[in-house]
């Protein structure tokens, strides 16, 4: 990793890159305006699972790519948790070599079609873009371009498979097949390891499958990328709960030399207020799992889901936005977000909030539920809500909500989705008593190496961070792979 700067410099001095840079003056490039993502019309999409963002056309992509000035010191890369060679892939798009662009992405990112869709680029690569940092202008649409290149490759059917080293005969196990585990598996396969992913559910992909809905991330897109990993030699075993189906010790005896725990933060939090166990009140994990993983909205599938007419979602994160927009697609007449802070403090991506608003979601900010009221059959019918005001900033820097005395009132609701956060999944810590765990239930790892208190067990993603993002989980997976490689070579 020490020669990464030299490597980038060398790549940048490639003849084709020099030629492209000379082809247009920087002034011409910076005069262009950022592309707008084409979207399905709000009224149509709000009742269907069609993907909201429709993707760029080749012309749009080439135009947007030519905005990038191919900086000598590309700050964007430092904003990317998996360190994609951003100028190289973008310049490949500019010259029309879309498949080379896709190949560049795969050098460092196992799931580019996923990341191009769900990364909060505005806080990462695009926040570090020259346009943003030096010119205070709209950054190059790196995320849209990443998605364009990955989709182009997927639609052509010719998927490039990254080169893998000769098999070294060492077996490693990955606990969980979410973004952290998949990124880890991709890199370990490249190093030549015999990688086995063990997944508790019946589908590979973790939150990419059960959590993020089709209208943001089609499952088919995830499956193509999983297939690439399979072609690299990664083996997948579903319906396998490490710690229950077999313990880490048993797996060691079966010849596994290293373990990466990427089991995520899948334990939903509830607010523990009166009436929360009434029928019709469910966690966003349950709601989204029924629809996304179990296909509850599709005819002929056995799993049912609550189809409320008046659905209220509690919370302000991306999961809350996914839930409330799912409610509309399940046929709700009215879908409302209740969030205890104001719109500015919402942790959801600005784009998701905008999409939800366009689709007709109502936002009841600075409000908080304090009690649920049910009918004689035990089904929720009303929520007692309390108004809030913003007080002093808390430790995270957000202003904390303070209840307004005497402001309680009642609203109607027939279905409530609680989306107030998740905690780390306790199954692995429960089965490994020697594993050092923080008081929040996250696994304690070395910040550099991602090694846990048990030497052959590494961990990353939400099980270490609590609820975070897909791309941070993938970054952890990559770093853990590099350090486990080093650890196993030293054995």
């Amino acid at each position: 990793m020490t020669n990464i700067t030299d490597y980038l410099k060398e790549e940048r001095s490639a003849a084709w890159r020099e030629e492209l840079r000379k082809a247009k003056k920087n002034k011409e490039r910076t005069d262009l305006t950022r592309v707008k993502m084409p979207e399905a019309p709000a009224r149509e999409r709000a009742r269907s699972y069609v993907e909201v963002n429709s993707g760029l056309t080749p012309e749009q992509a080439i135009n947007e790519a030519s905005r990038c000035i191919d900086c000598a010191n590309p700050t964007c890369i430092s904003g990317c948790p998996v360190g994609i060679n951003i100028p190289k892939f973008i310049k490949n798009i500019e010259r029309g070599e879309f498949l080379d662009a896709a190949r560049t992405l795969k050098e460092t990112n196992a799931l580019p079609a996923v990341c191009g869709r769900v990364c909060p680029q505005e806080k990462q690569c695009e926040a570090s873009c020259f346009y943003q940092v030096k010119m205070n202008r709209e950054p190059v649409a790196i995320g849209y371009l990443e998605r364009f290149a990955a989709d182009f490759e997927q639609s052509g059917g010719e998927i490039s498979i990254p080169e893998v080293a000769a098999a070294n005969g060492t077996k490693v196990a990955v606990v969980g097949s979410g973004p952290a585990g998949l990124a880890f598996a991709g890199d370990m396969a490249k190093f030549g390891y015999d990688v086995h992913i063990l997944e508790a559910l019946h589908e590979i992909g973790g939150v990419l499958k059960y959590g993020i809905p089709e209208f943001r991330l089609p499952n088919g897109v995830v499956d193509v990328e999983i297939e690439s990993l399979r072609k690299m030699g990664v083996q997948f075993e579903t319906n396998f709960i490490v710690g229950k189906t077999a313990t880490i010790q048993e797996l060691r005896e079966e010849g596994f030399k290293g373990f990466f725990v990427g089991s995520g933060a899948g334990l939903p939090r509830f607010m523990n207020i009166p009436g929360e166990n009434l029928v019709g009140i469910l966690s966003s994990n349950e709601y989204l799992t029924r629809v996304n993983l179990m296909g509850a909205s599709t005819q002929g599938m056995d799993t049912p889901v609550m189809r409320g007419k008046n659905v209220v979602v509690i919370g302000g994160g991306n999961t809350a936005m996914d839930s409330v927009r799912t409610a509309l697609r399940l046929g709700a007449d009215k879908a409302t977000i209740i969030y205890r802070r104001s719109l500015e403090e919402m942790p959801a991506r600005v784009e998701e909030v905008k999409h939800a608003q366009e689709e007709g979601v109502e936002f009841l900010t600075l409000n908080n539920p304090v009690e649920y009221i049910g009918d004689d059959k035990g089904r929720v019918k009303q929520i007692r809500v309390q108004k809030m005001e913003l007080g002093e900033p808390d430790q995270s820097g957000r202003r904390s909500p303070v209840p307004v005395e005497g402001s309680e009132y009642i609203i109607d609701a027939d279905t409530v989705v609680v989306s107030v956060g998740v905690s780390p999944n306790p199954l692995i810590p429960q089965s490994l008593p020697d594993l050092k765990v923080s008081r929040w239930g996250t696994l304690v790892v070395d910040e550099e190496t991602f090694q846990t208190s048990i030497p052959d067990v590494f961990a990353g993603g939400d099980i270490v961070r609590g609820g975070a993002t897909v791309i941070l989980a993938m970054g952890d997976g990559r770093k853990a792979a590099a350090s486990m490689h080093q650890y196993l070579q030293g054995q």
Binding site: H202, I241, F270, V279, L282, S283, E286, G378, P426
Partner: protein, 277 residues
Amino acid sequence: MNKVVSKQHFSENVVSLEIEAPRIAKARKAGHFVMVRTDEKGERIPLTISSADTAKGTITLVIQKVGVTSRKLTALEPGEFIHDMVGPLGQATHVENFGTVLACGGGVGVAPLLPIVEALKKAGNRVVSVIAARSKDLIILEDQIRAYSDEVVIMTDDGSYGQKGLVTEGMEQIIQREKIDQSVIIGPGIMMKFASMTTKKHNIPTIVSLNTIMVDGTGMCGACRVSVGGKTRFVCVDGPEFDAHEVDFDEMLMRLNGYKNEEKEADDAYNCQVDKK
């Protein structure tokens, strides 16, 4: 994996399937359950493991036809497969030598009760079992329960076998007769509610194994949540066994009915489909 090796009919609506699952057979303990999905369109449902054969690498599940998924499962024949099966899940039963244990099973609840009775007997307890059902043909696993019990009392609602009466009446007879140190009750929610009231009245420590709605079975969603001692607990990871006298049975029964309409619709649609064949 998950091949049905043998099948036994207990009654018209209750079958026992022996299924290939070497890892689960090896890891499971009394009280554990599995989640199964019949086919690609199937839902995930929880089923308690009623016995296992580590040498053969199989587990046995007892299934009663009540809706779409259980119909699909009971229709499986040896040689066919269950698409997905994961486990063992939940916390194992706490087993020790309590002294005298009163074990009560209602309907198909006798199947999950069996491994617990076996473990309790092997731990040195005197075990008195009460098994109850609506009628004679719904009494299952009687011989197996007898094998690990010092005494078995059978109760049927219609008196077609054993004594006529409810499970609670059988329990009262035993409790009046001798000192009971511990009780374990498994059956339909309503039966567990009333049986628990009986042991509470006599201050007998009691555990119940709850069978709530589940989706993933790994603690991910909270569909299975119940109130125990005023706190919300997840049956799939904190249970399925809890202190019977702390469980809010009314809330549990209410939540079990949460999808009644959807379940009926699915069942009607399935029947319609089967009729057409």
